[in-house]
Symmetry: C2
Subunit: 334 residues, 2 copies
Amino acid sequence: MSLDDAATQKPHDRLSAVLTADMERVNALIKTRMASEHAPRIPEVTAHLVEAGGKRLRPMLTLATARLCGYEGDHHIRLAATVEFIHTATLLHDDVVDESAQRRGRPTANLLWDNKSSVLVGDYLFSRSFQLMVETGSLRVLDILANASATIAEGEVLQLSAAQDLRTDEAVYLKVVRGKTAALFAAATEVGGVIAGAPEDQVQALHVYGDALGIAFQIADDLLDYGGSTLEIGKNVGDDFRERKLTLPVIKAVAEADEKEHAFWHRVIEKGEQHDGDLDRAMAIMARHDAMEATRAEALEWAAKARASLTSLPAHDLRDMLSDLADYVVSRVS
Amino acid sequence: MSLDDAATQKPHDRLSAVLTADMERVNALIKTRMASEHAPRIPEVTAHLVEAGGKRLRPMLTLATARLCGYEGDHHIRLAATVEFIHTATLLHDDVVDESAQRRGRPTANLLWDNKSSVLVGDYLFSRSFQLMVETGSLRVLDILANASATIAEGEVLQLSAAQDLRTDEAVYLKVVRGKTAALFAAATEVGGVIAGAPEDQVQALHVYGDALGIAFQIADDLLDYGGSTLEIGKNVGDDFRERKLTLPVIKAVAEADEKEHAFWHRVIEKGEQHDGDLDRAMAIMARHDAMEATRAEALEWAAKARASLTSLPAHDLRDMLSDLADYVVSRVS
């Protein structure tokens, strides 16, 4: 790879190139640990998901932060696999909860097998992740991941009751997003620092980085749903609208709505009665209140917060890539 | 309570009486930790199950074994709550998987709310249990509970594929039973010894006790389904048969079946075509092969194994009650 290539590559691909050797060890460990001598259904279901070509962003964050803090041992491999197992377990349960039929362009496990398998194999992966983290022998790491697990589960339950309820405000939205995305990002980056024995201020900075990166990532995703192309986002414009999801641009528009607009949102989101032209009308209302602009500004703020937190970490190629990654996740909407 | 009363009380009630103060602390801790500031759905669902008047057998095993080994600290309270949370989480997921409508004589959570709530609140309780065990600061305890969690999840998945498959043999049955029941019993008793700092041989003996007690308990349950009354077992004779469950008496009868009997089992269990008189015919076939007798003998062997393992533990009232408990779980079938 020439230097020119390196400069134009996406930060995610540059991280991936630098961490190839570590990531191969993570993939081998994932393969070993998802095997089950007794229940062949487990590797079937898991392989479908783990080998579906996800970007492995979360384990990469753990590898990158551990290396950035000078770690030379083996436990970052276990922790990266732990993080990927937790992520995969939540995907399996999410697909049951959302009654999804597709994930990453392939049929979901609950569709190929059944909801039972998705629930139980998710539980199995979660218990496997638990075994892996115990092997690191670090109570601090266990504490971080236990708390992240509770935040994830609580955010998911909160989403059940907050979805399709127009009273959902930005504070609730943020809790849901932390549960859905940011809690695992923050744990992934924080445990990298902890396992490397980094000083306390650096560990805290890594936590802030992961949390802000996850929030920026999720807000950008919400925004793209009302503006990106299918090619860019892997889903169609307006999917969230049709699924009656209260994402940040809608929450901002609802907060500013007059009586007539409120009746519109009540009909299309709470009651779910949608007709031709409603998506266009929703986008016109959001434009009127600058809801898209305000959402975009918020995504950029979180990305800036992620970048800023990295200043307390040692100068390092990996630090620069993590900084570029924060820019990248919002670049598609800025 | 007079001595006469004590002698005639069930061992479970005697344990409960001796451990009242500890158990009140466990119940208070469970109540605190199942609360969720952000997601009120969580305590609703959990209270429905936790306060449904279960026997709290598993947390009692942890309290009893810790006390028996001379423990004077606080962590046994956390571990007892941990064990009850894991148990409750598996019940929530089981009811989704089994599509159950009733548990302990009340409608199940998946019926009262929905499958989504049962899946996600189960995940939440599991993550809460994880936080509680991390608070004990014992990596050994975490290792035991991580392994038990993996055994439970693997057993549940195995049961999915083993159910209604006549090739399921006694070895597979035992793995399923360890996942369903014995793994958590064994972890509950083992961590009681570990937290008390008991010598290694006593910790091992407690593991063997919990494992054997759980297996005896489950085999007795299978047997009662073909012979107990609704009053005794809280379900009707033949429920397992009607649900096409391959329990131990059936597995033993299938192993001895001639061609005609095999065709019968294939029809009623694998194909699920059941007619009037089939339950009677199943029981006649089992009687012909002494399948009920052989199952009963096996339950008694496991109970004897549980009792025998207690001999390496210190002489103590609680030890006697645990020994009586092993007798009690099989007394209804002996």
